[in-house]
């Protein structure tokens, strides 16, 4: 019984919509000036041909930039990875020698492990913290000031953030350790002990990127229609249930993007390590980028450094591709 008046109520609106649609569709060609109309009628292929020069003109700057700053360096990097190159003397082709060295280089594999550990910590905890922050923000406040404040650490340069944290974590003078010493009577060598170095750097990295990720997720949250939550509330779902069953699944495309971005940037961590520990103590925080930098600029072994960069590049590509495939990032449950 209830369905019939509803149908009735919708019927005129639908009619109205199609009505205006048809009117517009019929009216439009009549209003068009002759010249442009004729061009359109000549067929889409011709139009594309005429637009092509302009299109190229617009694409050109980006294309030149890509060729000069991305394609050429990448190809040269690939070439250099097959050479013995010390920058100041011309590269010498050595075939697969660098790759053979890579396979048997214990420090490389150790660095890879250290990097993976760092990525794991900073992605898992970083995303968790950002997600919770974003959801709380979304539920509690619309204030742009607070959203801006959350973003602040991201705006600080990595070097500055690392320096300030290194001072705060200092075993003798740092405020964090002074508090810990008052409470426990011991000091923690956050950046000076092998077991602590990577977790400490991951913590700094999370602190720094948290705001940025939270803002991205926050934007994603705003795309979820309010009705979904209303329906949830009607069905008696609790706040945590709605978070787990509604928010997270509907956020998937955004979350996947944030995870991929965070993962790539974590794999490429360098500034934080360079400022806080320079890979020490005893190689405990010698991430791959650090090792590559040392080989290249410290020991002038640019050929081998290029080989390692290439290996990292291939790994990152593979990981990103897999992630996108597994997470079906291009589909959304919203539609």
């Amino acid at each position: 019984m209830a369905a019939i008046p509803e149908q009735d109520a919708h019927a005129p609106a639908k009619l109205l919509a199609t009505g205006t649609g048809t009117a517009g569709g019929l009216g439009a060609p009549r209003r068009r000036p002759g010249g442009r109309g004729a061009g359109r009628r000549a067929g889409p292929a011709a139009a594309r041909r005429r637009d092509a020069p302009v299109a190229w003109l617009f694409i050109l700057p980006a294309l030149v930039g890509f060729l000069v700053f991305v394609a050429y360096p990448t190809l040269r990097g690939v070439y250099l990875s097959f050479t013995d190159f010390h920058v100041l003397t011309p590269p010498k082709w050595v075939g697969l020698a660098n790759f053979r060295e890579l396979v048997s280089d214990g420090t490389f594999w150790h660095s890879l492990g250290v990097t993976a550990y760092f990525v794991l910590l900073s992605v898992v905890f970083g995303i968790l913290v950002s997600l919770v922050t974003a959801v709380i923000l979304h539920r509690l406040t619309r204030s742009t000031v607070i959203r801006g404040l959350i973003l602040l650490p991201f705006l600080i340069s990595g070097v500055v953030a690392a320096l300030v944290w290194a001072w705060m974590l200092d075993p003798q003078l740092g405020i964090v350790n002074i508090v810990i010493y008052q409470l426990t009577g011991h000091r923690i060598l956050f950046l000076g002990a092998g077991g602590w170095a990577i977790p400490s750097i991951a913590m700094i990295s999370i602190w720094k990127s948290m705001g940025y990720n939270a803002v991205l997720i926050f934007a994603g949250l705003q795309t979820i229609p309010e009705q979904v939550y209303e329906a949830g509330r009607l069905d008696g779902a609790s706040e945590t249930q709605m978070f787990r069953r509604l928010t997270v699944p509907l956020l998937r495309p955004i979350l996947v993007m944030v995870v991929v971005l965070q993962m790539i940037s974590s794999f490429q961590v360098f500034d934080l390590v360079q400022v806080t520990t320079q890979g020490g103590p005893a190689n405990a925080s010698n991430v791959l980028q650090m090792y590559i930098y040392r080989k290249a600029f410290g020991e002038l072994d640019f050929g081998y450094a290029a080989t390692m960069s290439l290996a990292l590049f291939v790994m990152l590509m593979a990981i990103t591709f897999l992630q996108l495939r597994i997470a079906r990032a291009n589909e959304s449950d919203l539609s």
């Binding site: 100041l88 003798q172 000076g192 806080t276 520990t277 040392r294 600029f297 020991e299 002038l300």
Partner: protein, 452 residues
């Protein structure tokens, strides 16, 4: 929107980094000579020479820059690669062969011949700056040694006299007299000494000795002055060696002893006063100045800073004697002044470098007491000037006169060796590795010394 924001930020970041790279280009127009050092105090000391030089050469500016030693050599290398290295710079023997073999250093022989520059004015360090091709690549800037600096009041309170430190002996088995003194000088937060019952090694107010357990692969101001009294030598040959003797039983035993010092609480633990990269957060000077340590080995270049410490009276003693009670061996190092092969003003740069190597400049800068001039007359002048300020250099001068100094080994591939050895030594001192690490270190050094 999101994606666009992302690109905007990425573009901003790229622009910002691009902005960083473009600074500090070459000289043009009015001529500027860039000179680099890693020592902040020497940068200040040589500024007086720079000012005089600028007055004598109108239109010339000498720009002295200082970068911390941890970043100095990577920054220099990046400068070579990108073409904006300084015209001339202070260099360490450790990095000299690498730079010379890469063609980054200008041989000075032609300049020396043309100017009739007399190399015999330097009493030490000239040969450290001769490369395998027989050419002279640098002028010695200074010479340096190591000594024991101690807190006079703490020593007196513990019942020791200056004579006790000056004739201190040690051995790698139980540390000997040195160990007894370090233990007795260590005080925990409740005031108990290291050799007294109830001593709490986890809560230390003052450590008996400063850091000896560092990853420095030559142990310049730390373990080298101990181990070398045993007859141990760093390498198989004095110059251009093929192997470092890290696996010598005397060396292994000594490292074990230094590690035990920290385990027993008489020496700071590895990483306690250093950051993750082994860099001192609290300098040697402040460690002694703040009463954290009672005595420590440190470089001669710190002598003036130690003397100027407020509140703490610092005594200087020569380094320890070996188990035989008479052998003392101190590593001496001469830094050099090099000219970059890529300099745009080679003649002017030589003028500056040769002026720095002159009696006049060395005497002027040496008065600061931040380094010891390689020219004897300047050294005397600087010793005299410092004596007037209450800084006594006699310990160093006597060590030199008694022939207790030995020069640093000139060898290839310093950067690579450091990168390979340091983490391993650090792992040993932080108990992640044990004696089995040492044969590997010797092997690694052999491999890297052979690499061209």
């Amino acid at each position: 929107m999101r994606i666009r924001n992302l690109f905007a930020i990425a573009a901003a970041v790229a622009l910002a980094t691009a902005g960083c790279g473009s600074g500090g280009g070459g000289a043009s127009g009015a001529k500027t000579i860039n000179w680099w050092t890693w020592d902040d105090k020497q940068a200040q000391a040589y500024q007086t020479c720079a000012t005089t030089f600028e007055k004598a050469n109108p239109g010339v500016t000498v720009k002295i820059s200082q970068y911390d030693v941890q970043d100095y050599f990577t920054k220099l290398t990046s400068g070579f690669v990108s073409g904006n290295a300084p015209d001339a710079f202070q260099n360490s023997v450790q990095y000299f062969p690498t730079y010379a073999s890469q063609g980054q250093l200008k041989p000075l022989d032609d300049f020396i011949a043309k100017n009739r520059f007399d190399l015999s004015r330097f009493s030490v360090g000239v040969n450290s700056w001769k490369y395998t091709d027989g050419k002279q690549y640098g002028l010695p800037l200074d010479w340096a040694a190591t000594a024991i600096y101690y807190n006079k009041d703490m020593l007196a309170k513990a019942g020791y006299t200056a004579k006790d430190v000056e004739s201190l002996t040690w051995n790698p088995d139980n540390g000997g007299a040195f160990d007894k003194m370090a233990a007795h000088l260590t005080v925990d937060t409740k005031g108990r000494r290291g050799d007294q019952p109830g001593f709490d090694k986890s809560r230390i107010a003052t450590y008996g000795t400063g850091l000896l357990n560092t990853g420095d692969y030559i142990g310049q101001t730390t373990w080298s002055s101990f181990v070398s009294t045993l007859g141990w030598k760093m390498s198989d040959k004095d110059n251009w060696p093929t192997r470092f003797n890290y696996d010598d039983p005397r060396f292994v035993k000594s490292m074990g002893y230094f590690r035990s010092l920290a385990d027993r609480g008489f020496e700071p633990k590895f990483g306690q006063f250093t950051s993750g990269n082994g860099q001192a957060i609290i300098s040697d000077i402040d460690l002694l100045g703040s009463g954290k340590v009672a005595m420590e080995t440190s470089g001669s270049w710190n002598v003036a800073s130690f003397a100027k410490l407020p509140k703490v009276k610092v005594g200087i003693a020569p380094t320890v004697l070996g188990p035989d009670g008479k052998t003392r061996k101190v590593l001496s190092n001469s830094n050099g002044n090099n000219i970059w092969a890529g300099t745009k003003n080679p003649d002017l740069t030589w003028k500056w470098v040769s002026y720095m190597g002159s009696d006049a400049c060395q005497t002027m800068a040496g008065k600061s007491g931040t380094f010891f001039p390689s020219i004897p007359a300047s050294m005397d002048a600087s010793a005299q000037a410092l004596a007037g300020q209450g800084v006594d250099l006699s310990v160093f001068i006597q060590m030199m006169k008694r022939g207790e100094l030995y020069p640093n080994v000139v060898h290839t591939n310093g950067a690579a060796i450091e990168a390979a050895i340091k983490p391993q030594l650090e792992a040993y001192f932080s108990h992640q590795r044990n004696d089995d690490v040492f044969p590997g270190l010797a092997q690694k050094s052999q491999q890297l010394l052979a690499k061209k």
